[in-house]
Amino acid sequence: MTSVPRLLWAPAALAWLLVAIPVAGLVVRVDWPNFLGLVTTPSALAALRLSLETGLATMVLCLVLGGPLAVVLARSSLPGLPFVRSVVLLPLVLPPVVGGLTLLFLFGRTGPLGSFLDREFGITIPFSTTAVVLAQTFVAMPFLVVSLEGALRTAGERYEAVAATLGASPATTLWRVTVPVVLPGLMSGSVLAFARALGEFGATITFAGSLEGTTRTLPLFIYLESESDLDGAVAMSLVLVVVAILVIVVSRTRDLR
């Protein structure tokens, strides 16, 4: 263990406190005697349930779509890969509201894709749970792609090359060699995507709207509650913090192993 320069201790402590103190403040502010009642109102439970369901759906969508994308980014040698990668990372730096607006302009009733779906199939995306999942996938996908691509690059291609010389087809190599090797990265990437989906707010409220049981996820519920019942908002915020901490702990322990 190398020693840390003394100069770094103060800013390091400040950085930690900047995150820790507000969260601790939340715990202090909670109306503990009524906590259980506040977090089990039908509206709160509906929001929690919707958040967990859409978060899981988002995670699956990220795996099914983002997984292959990460493999392509890490293993193929297509020209223009840096450009492809920058586009995938865009939601990381874009304000989620902007993401929501772009989705609305595409899938909205007057948008090019939205009007087509409405006309041909009678499908309208805005104001539906599908819209919530789309918005969450938009913002959460880069987390999976980045983690998985990193894991793939760190693992290298040696095992895959050996498998190929032993006669394994590319598909067999992928399933029997690559996936097991990067499994920890895949897991932590999925968990991160789930966590990001759980906290998603801006894109969801802009694109999907806010209706109990259909589109009002936990963050939207908390924002609405903060307008009328601050105690309820604080209580549910704490629930969200606890879920987030659990998610981080789960993904970290996988990393350490």
Binding site: V93, P95, T154, S210, L211, L224, L230
Partner: protein, 266 residues
């Protein structure tokens, strides 16, 4: 490894960007110091409901012209947050909310000098696309099959007003979304994602024809009309100036600007 570092950088950059954007929020206070020597430079801080933004900004300029050396800075936001801020001791001289309920929060906390005055009201309209392509006529017609309607959530003032109007009409709307604020409703109608929404006359007026407003009888029902109270914050260092702001808003210039925006003045 390189990618991992780069991705860490990206995440870090995103965080910093978020902070910077948030920090920009309230940076306009204290700017625009007057150079005139005869009058002492004073700053009046007005916490006002978001729906007053354009009217108050216009009146702020006129007030500054009429009172050299005075700078008016605004803190626009949701009435509930503004009232909460005042209760928590935020440095404001004037509080102007968009509902009596939110003003009462501040009054009950002993944060308002005397009685707040209601100087304007705002009524609901049904916002539809120009020329009303879906033939909306009244509240009940919003429930017709195939009509996508949007309202404010009952927890926020415009939603409570909508609920009162529904009650008066004996109609329970089935909206596609309950928005956080009235601008959210307006945007849904303006972008064509909703056929109709309940908003205020002032909101329809602010779109300059992009949205058409339909009057309906229950808009004047008990609880549906939005009152705009204003009061001087207790402990204000500029109570006299705050009082002249209130007189100014209630005077001829204020009345004209409010009516122009669609408010009914009192």
């Amino acid at each position: 490894m390189r990618t991992r570092f780069r991705s860490a950088l990206m995440v870090g950059a995103a965080a910093v960007l978020g902070l910077a954007l948030t920090a920009c929020g309230g940076s306009d206070s204290g700017s625009g110091q007057s150079t005139q020597a005869q009058a002492p430079a004073r700053t009046l801080t007005v916490s006002a409901a978001a729906s007053l933004t354009s009217v108050y900004q216009q009146l702020g300029t006129e007030f500054q012209n009429a009172n050299p050396g005075t700078t008016v800075t605004f803190n626009f936001g949701g009435s509930d947050s503004l009232a909460q801020q005042v209760v928590q001791g935020a440095p404001a001289d004037v509080l102007a909310t968009a509902s009596s309920k939110t003003m009462n929060t501040a009054v009950q906390a002993g944060k308002i000098q005397g009685e707040p005055v209601v100087y304007a009201t705002n009524t609901l309209q049904i916002a539809v696309a120009p020329n009303n392509p879906k033939g909306i006529t009244d509240l009940a017609s919003l429930n017709r099959p195939g009509i996508v309607s949007v309202v404010c959530a009952p927890a926020v003032p415009c939603g409570a007003a909508a609920e009162a109007a529904e009650k008066a009409a004996g109609v329970t709307l089935t909206p596609a979304s309950e928005e956080q604020d009235v601008k959210g409703v307006l945007n849904r109608v303006q972008t064509g994602n909703a056929d109709a929404g309940l908003v205020y006359v002032t909101d329809v007026r602010s779109t300059q024809g992009k949205v058409q407003g339909l009057d309906f009888p229950q808009a004047s029902a008990q609880g549906a009309v939005q009152s705009y109270p204003i009061g001087v914050v207790n402990g204000s260092q500029n109570a006299d100036l705050a009082q002249s702001w209130i007189s100014f808003v209630r005077g001829p210039q204020g009345t004209a600007a409010l009516q122009q925006a669609g408010f009914v003045t009192k």
